[in-house]
Assembly symmetry: C2
Homo-oligomer: 144 residues x 2
DNA sequence: TGGATGTAAATGCAGTTGCATTCAGATGTC
DNA sequence: GACATCTGAATGCAACTGCATTTACATCCA
């Protein structure tokens, strides 16, 4: 097992970190500027909106989003507080529950997508050809 | 100005976010497991160690690291507290200061590199050929 | 059945971040 | 020189995160 990365790998990594960081904060800035909640809320709402009946066990959500358990728990808290999600008890497992997206939540997800899509286009789409974007997608896929 | 990203751009973006997130947390985990401080400390120590006389104005550091001002200020606090950095007054500007890396700090940076390099190799290098890594670097460069 | 072990979710606490403001010193203008 | 404006850095406060633990229920197995 080799312990030293090639120069190429190192600079790809360094750039990956910087670029992702600055793109992510640019996108967050765009969302906030449009008066919307953070990206993580969007991701959660999107997952829920795609799930059957618009609901997921927190434990599923946490796998989808690659978040720690407590983090999901608190994100759901905030979404509930904002009226975008409701907690429902789980009939088949007394420990569990469901987080279900509300109509308001679906609406927010759709509205956020307008802004989010524009941000992706501005910060990513406009800088790559389709071929390049596909190539990037592939290369990143090898890292997953 | 187009407002809708292509499918390719959108999936490249989605993957960029997820992959970077999971790689970054894997690398952080490796550092922590080896008993080292977080990546941000390494980055700061590296910048300082490369600077002339091992010192930078916080305002420079902040530009290098793409961090908000207060964040740099507090990072320097912690590095000072840990003995890796010293604050020095700036002779030419009474408002300013220098953050200067100490010998202990240089030593920590070098030792962290062992672990960090291994992590990069494990999570990135071993998954890409040199050509692929170079290609990734290039594509990311277009996004910068 | 009942005790050990496992899993879903919440939470107390300490540490960290983001935001807005403050403070001190520089610079520009009249 | 005096005042307004700008810039570098720190900080109070509220929100957020990570970690470890707790609570509640499930499951396993003798």
């Amino acid at each position: 097992m080799n312990r030293k990365p090639s120069r190429e790998a190192t600079s790809a990594w360094a750039r990956l970190v910087r670029v992702q960081q600055s793109l992510q904060s640019a996108v967050e800035r765009d969302l906030k500027a449009a008066g919307y909640p953070p990206l993580a809320w969007y991701d959660a709402l999107l997952e829920l909106s795609r799930a059957p009946r618009g609901e997921l066990r927190p434990v599923e959500l946490e796998k989808q989003m690659l978040m720690p358990q407590y983090s999901t728990s608190r994100l759901v808290d905030r979404l509930v507080e904002a009226g975008f999600v409701e907690r429902k008890t789980c009939p088949v497992d007394g420990r569990g529950q469901f987080a279900a997206i509300t109509p308001t939540g679906r609406n927010m997800q759709k509205r956020m997508w307008e802004t989010y899509a524009a941000a992706i286009e501005r910060h990513v789409g406009s800088k790559l050809t389709c071929k390049e974007a596909a190539g990037l997608h592939d290369l990143l896929g090898k890292l997953a």
